[in-house]
Structure formats: structure tokens, C-alpha cells
Amino acid sequence: MIQPSLHAASKWIIRNTIISNESLTPEFNLRLITIASPLWMSTPDSCPLPDPYWAFYWPGGQGLSRYILDNKNLFHNSKILDFGAGCGSASMAAVVSGASKILANDIDKYALVSTKLNFHLNNLKDSKIQYSAKNFLDEQNRNLSVEYFNDSEDQNKYILLGDMFYDSDFAELLFKWLKRIQDNHGTRVLVGDPDRHPLVESDYLKRYKTKFSKVQLAEYSLPGYVIKEHYGFNTAKVFELKFH
């Protein structure tokens, strides 16, 4: 499949998404594929931009962004890595909270286009944002993500992850990478998640090679349409992961 240019992608997003603020963060308008879009009942192959995860405001992302907006003081003047930025809501919340530097990372370059469009839509400046589509879990890129937190001794440092834990094998890879950054820089790891099995089931928690403790920071009731789409998940939780 031919990949559309970033310019073409940007046009497609503007034409095919709907501006919505029906979420845990009603202060943000986001360009999304919603139940009102014809694409909602389609299959991924009807989108020219492959697998548009950025076109949905997933429950964990909503909870995480809400938490940042409700705890602005924690993020003021901080340095942030938004891992799997998607539609960019957490980066937007970080800018509103006065973060001094944000690395918006998503392996899908179109997610970064969507993030940029959403900043513009909300009249938020993205001058503090650095965009990267690198896969930090690849061995060759690992140092990049560790080095990002260099020279920030006097700052609060965070890695933000919304809806990243679907599969325990992938979770294990993430934990290893996160631990390395936390060990080097004391970076706090914040996770938004509706309690999917890789972070909940004791069998998995026991089996992971990278050990951590999980502290719940907040829990939010999800809007009705989100609950309906997520079959049995009623709340989004925000956790802090502390690696041993």
C-alpha cells in the first residue's frame, strides 16, 4: 500500500474525522472517528491511513489526560515523554499544565500529524513539543530515549503511557525499557488503563521478569459511550509504576 504524504494525511484527517469533546477532558476538542462517522462501522482497510489508533480517544488516555489537568502543579516545568501519543491529548494536557519540554512519540507518523492538528484546533502552541516516530523499544533507539532525560536533574520527569497494556508479552518489553530509564534518571512512570489483564492478573504480575509495584493515583468513571465500546470496563485508572 502507498503511504499518503503527511500533507495528504493531514487533509484526510480534517475531512474524515469529527470534532468531539465528549470525554473526560471536555476542555479539549479532538479530531476523532466517532459513532457519528461513517467509518465507525467500517473495517481498518477502508482507511487510507493504516490502523488509525490516533483517531480514537481510548479510556486510559482519557484518564491520564484528566489526571494531568487536575494535578497541574506536578507537571509544571517538568520534562515529559508521551509514549504512544495517539491523538496527543496527554501532550496537550502537559502543555496546559506548564511542562517545559515534551517528547511526543508514536511509531505511527500520522498520529503525530493528528497531535499537531489537535494542538492547532485548541489554540495551543506546540513550541515545547518535539515529535518523534522512532520505536524506542528497538535496541538501536533505546539510548535516544534514555538520553532524552539527560541534563534535567532539577526537573520532575515523567513517561506517560495510555492504553499500552493489551498483551503481557508486549508489557514485558515495555517494563524492561521503562525500568532502564527510571534507574538512570528517576523518571516517574504514569499509566492510564481501564484494568486490562496484563496489569491486573496476578498470574502475569508474578511471571514478569521486570518486577514493579503499582500505585493507583486516580480512578475516573468513563462516559457511557466509552463503556459501551469497551465491553465491561467502566472506569479508567491512573497508576504509577515503580520498578524494583
Binding site: I35, W40, M41, T43, D51, E229
Partner: protein, 242 residues
């Protein structure tokens, strides 16, 4: 409660079935396949129990050739949390019997500690209706077959204790549609593939198909003018006594 749901890849219900020229079976190549509709209903019921917080996890299971993974992805998009594909070749899959499926399900139930197994009341390809009762027998679990309603502690017609095997009737529910976000989420959910030999299940056929034939072509009917004409016709044919 952890629920295992069996989903079978079958020729789509809308396809006109054709018998192979050599009469060894029906044509499956180049034909639209989908999830057995009764299995969709079983899955929907399990997902509903999860939404009501009565079930903690719903895992979809399929025993079949490589393309069985397509129906497992569909099951994940419709609400299953994980999927297990027990792999056989397409050649082996065409000769599988309910007994083999039940034995395989038993292995998975025992190794992964499930509390209930939900199945369709029958698959629309062979119409056997045997997997659920054989499995209940092998596990020595109670069975609720052809279920048209599932209630927790209700005054239903039949009560079963957990663990149990359920087979779903058409009336049980109306399965949901998989929306785009759910199809995308399904791509991230875990699908475990296990070769059948790793489970040590013997799938040697116990039956031999001698011949598959088309049903006789239905004869054209005739019209009668009125009730008197109908009665006269029935008498003429000897269906009513003169």
C-alpha cells in the same frame, strides 16, 4: 468466572452449498467463510456476563486450519479478551469430529482453569450438536444445552452449578456488531497458537465419509382454484380418505 467460548470457522450461512464433483464432500475453496452463527451467540452471552461483572475473562477458542485465526480476531473484536488457536492442517481440519473438538477443549479447560465453556448449539456446516454434550461428559460437568436465557440465580427452567458447559440457541441474544475501534483493539489482543501435537490429542478419524450427495431436487408444485379443488386434489392423491 473464566469462560472459554468455542468459535468455529464455517462456510457462511448465505453461501449456496455445492457438492464436489467426486462426491467426497462440499466445496469450501474460494467460498466465503465466517464464524458459526450459534458460536457468535455463545460469545455474545459470555461478553454480556463480563459486562455484568459476573465473568472476569472471556477467551475464544478455535480448532482448525490457519484461517481459523480470522474468526478468532473477529471474536476478539466482539469482546473476547484473548484467543487460543489449536492448529491442525486444512486437510486434518476437514476430517475433525465433535469428539476431537471436545477432547481438545477438555485439555484447554484443564490447563488454563476455566469455570465454564460456552458453545453454539450446533455448527451450521455439519449440524452435529455433539461437542457440548461430549465435553460435559468428558469433564463430568453439568450441561445446559440449547439455552435460550441465562440468568444468575433466576427461576429459570434449569439450574446448573459452576463449572458447566452451555450451548447457545438462536433465541438467546442478538450478537453485537464489531465497530472500527474494536476491530483495531482486537489486533493488539493476544492470540496464542498451540499445535495439536503439543496437547497430545489423537485426531484419528472415527468415521469414514463414503459419499456426499445433493438433496433431491424439489418437484414443482401445482395450483388449485379453491378449497373444493384442494380437497378434490388431496382425495385424488390419496392423502385424505374419500
Amino acid at each position: 468466572m473464566k469462560i472459554l467460548v468455542g468459535v468455529k470457522r464455517v462456510v457462511d450461512y448465505a453461501v449456496k452449498i455445492r457438492v464436489k464433483p467426486d462426491r467426497s464432500g462440499v466445496v469450501t475453496e474460494g467460498v466465503q467463510h465466517s464464524m458459526n452463527p450459534f458460536d457468535e451467540i455463545a460469545l455474545e452471552e459470555a461478553v454480556k456476563l463480563k459486562e455484568k461483572k459476573l465473568a472476569t475473562e472471556v477467551v475464544a477458542f478455535s480448532l482448525g486450519g490457519p484461517k481459523s485465526q480470522e474468526v478468532l480476531r473477529t471474536a476478539l473484536a466482539k469482546g473476547a479478551d484473548k484467543a487460543i488457536h489449536v492448529q491442525v492442517s486444512d486437510e486434518e481440519a476437514s476430517k475433525l469430529e465433535s469428539f476431537h473438538v471436545a477432547k481438545t477443549l477438555k485439555k484447554i479447560v484443564e490447563s488454563e482453569k476455566f469455570d465454564a465453556v460456552f458453545l453454539g448449539k450446533q455448527a451450521i456446516d455439519d449440524d452435529s450438536s455433539q461437542t457440548a454434550p461430549i465435553l460435559a461428559g468428558l469433564l463430568d460437568w453439568p450441561q445446559a444445552l440449547y439455552a435460550s436465557k441465562v440468568e444468575e440465580g433466576g427461576d429459570g427452567h434449569m439450574k446448573v452449578k459452576i463449572p458447566f458447559v452451555l450451548s447457545a440457541d438462536l433465541r438467546l441474544n442478538e450478537p453485537r456488531y464489531a465497530t472500527l475501534p474494536n476491530i483495531m483493539k482486537a489486533k493488539k489482543k493476544p492470540l496464542k497458537a498451540i499445535p495439536i501435537k503439543d496437547l497430545g490429542v489423537d485426531i484419528k478419524p472415527q468415521t469414514e465419509t463414503i459419499e456426499v450427495t445433493e438433496p433431491p431436487v424439489r418437484q414443482a408444485g401445482g395450483f388449485v382454484e379453491d378449497v373444493a379443488g384442494l380437497v378434490a386434489k388431496l382425495k385424488e392423491k390419496g392423502f385424505v380418505k374419500a
